[in-house]
């Protein structure tokens, strides 16, 4: 006769599992757009974003690149700035 132990699950539900949201609608083209380059301040991420900006400019020409220096655990006002000033955003963590 097998012995059974019954235990309670220790894992908490995450807020994100209860409050899901959809992605913003994608844009048709990057041409003419204000593009945010959001860096979290880790080494290398800024280099990656600078290269992305260079490639976008060479491919789409008439874009406006907006460099945004954030932090690890980005402050809401930085994200609010990106949302207000940019039409699309590209982030890089360095990791």
């Amino acid at each position: 006769m097998p012995e059974v132990i019954e235990v309670l699950n220790p894992v908490a539900v995450a807020e994100g599992e209860l409050n899901k949201f959809s992605l913003a609608s994608r844009t048709k083209s990057l041409s003419g757009k204000k593009i945010g380059l959001l860096w979290n301040a880790k080494r290398g991420g800024d280099v990656a974003l600078a290269k992305v900006g260079e490639l976008i400019e060479s491919q789409f020409g008439n874009v406006q690149l907006i460099r945004i220096d954030g932090s690890i655990g980005c402050k809401p006002e930085v994200l609010d700035f990106a949302k207000k000033e940019c039409e699309v955003a590209i982030g890089s963590t360095g990791d």
Binding site: P2, E3, V4, I5, E6, V7, L8, N9, P10, V11, A12, V13, A14, E15, G16, E17, L18, N19, K20, F21, S22, L23, A24, R26, T27, K28, S29, L30, A41, K42, R43, G44, G45, D46, V47, A48, L49, K51, V52, L55, I56, Q59, D69, S71, I72, G73, K75, V78, L79, A82, K83, C86, E87, A89, I90, G91, S92, T93, G94, D95
Partner: protein, 437 residues
């Protein structure tokens, strides 16, 4: 964010990034995954790897198919009671081993055997508080897990705690969830931060905490400290979702992460206890949480004067703290030095008339490092230096800079047994204190 967004992330951190997106409710967030961690490669290699994912970046911002499969359904009940899990074996011992194996396979443990959180044990644990079983005490980063009293109690059972430890764990959850405590950074960093709990007030003695020799660990004299510290580790895992290699990305790791819990040695403390210094009544019981990024032994068994002891402390501060000196305010990383001072050192200092405040001021004025070190360390990330501190790059190499920006960034807790051995813990934030009720 409300606008089309994509993020560049390395293959090694891709799972971490996807999990992070999911916990913020956006599991279909697009990533452009590059082969290497960018902090570990040079600029030319970074540019090359970015070129490799450039088409994916533009597609992620423009493709109509992105995000179409997003499930936005939400659960009506915010919190559900913990579900039951059954484990079978030929006998109870085998059942116990099966439970432990499966829990560890799922990442739910710290590597040591876990006490089975059976209903009877959890119910017994819950007698330690009058708070409701499904009350959400806090939301814990990095996974934004809902810390209900029940989930805290389950993890406390697994760690070997008893019901009288539960109020400390509840208050600790409240403390680490405070906005001023960078729990997300501490848990997810490639550095190896632990979280140190310091208990003050009558509860420490009442529940048998060790504030003397070997207070931090190891062994039987510190069994209560060990159990509480371990419970917090399990809570960070199973409630905060700070699972190693998923959201805890520490490069090497550290035993500090297994749990650090002490009581202040108030009897041997010649000054006011830490919680009284912070404005609490001496008869209040409190828990203070500190980040713990590294620790340095301060050994001085030979000085009989405050001058000698202070010289020893002053010499122990190194350039680690300079990493945060003058950091841009929005980084919210403030270097702190938590001094776990042995009673012998404290006694010598107090005996010569030093208060905690004057000790902190002395350390601020004397623990200094040449500007050359600042320049060498910060030249690669000058963008992270606050404009107010940019002058330091033009300073003379031998100009002495403080290791922190204010005497308030030193904290002193008296702990341990006899002998002149103290411990210096370096951190990226100040302590947060909560009353234990």
């Amino acid at each position: 964010m409300g606008i089309p967004t994509v993020a560049i992330v390395s293959k090694r951190f891709a799972e971490d990034a996807k999990k992070s997106a999911a916990i913020f409710g956006c599991s279909s967030f697009p990533f452009a995954i590059v082969p290497d961690v960018l902090t570990g490669i040079g600029p030319e290699e970074i540019k090359s790897q970015v070129e490799g994912v450039f088409d994916l970046i533009t597609e992620s911002l423009t493709s109509r198919s992105i995000g179409q499969d997003t499930d936005t359904s939400t659960s009506k009940a915010r919190v559900q009671p913990a579900i039951m899990e059954k484990f079978e074996g030929a006998d109870l011992l085998e059942s116990f081993h099966n439970m432990n194996k499966i829990f560890l396979d799922r990442g739910w443990g710290d590597g040591f055997p876990l006490i089975p959180p059976m209903v009877k044990a959890v119910d017994q644990m819950l007698t330690g508080t009058s708070r409701k079983r499904q009350e959400v005490v806090a939301v814990l980063a990095p996974g934004n897990g809902l810390a209900t009293v029940e989930k805290i109690a389950i993890n406390a059972v697994m760690a070997g705690c008893s019901s009288e430890h539960l109020p400390i764990l509840i208050s600790t959850c409240e403390a680490i969830a405070a906005p001023e405590f960078p729990l997300r950074n501490l848990c997810m960093s490639t550095s190896a931060f632990g979280i140190l709990l310091v208990v003050n007030g009558p509860i420490a003695k009442k529940i048998g905490m060790n504030s003397g020799q070997c207070a931090m660990v190891p062994g039987a004299p510190s069994r209560v400290n060990v159990a509480i510290g371990r419970a917090m580790r399990l809570i960070l895992l199973n409630i905060g979702h700070a699972y190693p290699q998923v959201m805890d990305m520490s490069t090497i790791g550290s035993p500090r992460k297994n749990g650090m819990c002490i009581a202040e040695n108030e009897e041997a403390n010649p000054w006011e206890p830490f919680h009284v210094e912070k404005g609490y009544d001496s008869q209040a019981s409190t828990v203070s949480v500190f980040g713990a990024g590294s620790d340095i032994t301060v050994a001085d068994l030979y000085s009989y004067t405050s001058e000698g002891v202070l010289n020893t402390f002053t010499g122990r501060f190194n350039a680690d703290l300079l990493h945060f000196l003058g950091a841009r305010k929005e980084l919210r990383l403030v270097g702190h030095a938590h001094i776990l001072m042995s009673p012998d050192h404290a006694k010598i200092l107090a005996g010569d008339g030093w208060s905690k405040e004057t000790v902190k001021t002395h350390l601020f004025e004397n623990a200094r490092i040449p500007a050359k070190r600042f320049k060498e360390q910060r030249k690669h990330n000058a963008r992270l230096v606050d404009p107010e501190w940019m002058w330091a790059f033009d300073a003379a190499d031998d100009l002495l800079l403080p290791v922190v920006e204010s005497p308030d960034q030193f904290d002193i807790v008296v702990v341990g047994g006899e002998a002149g051995i103290s411990l210096l813990i370096l951190d990226i934030c100040g302590p947060v204190i909560r009353e234990i009720k």
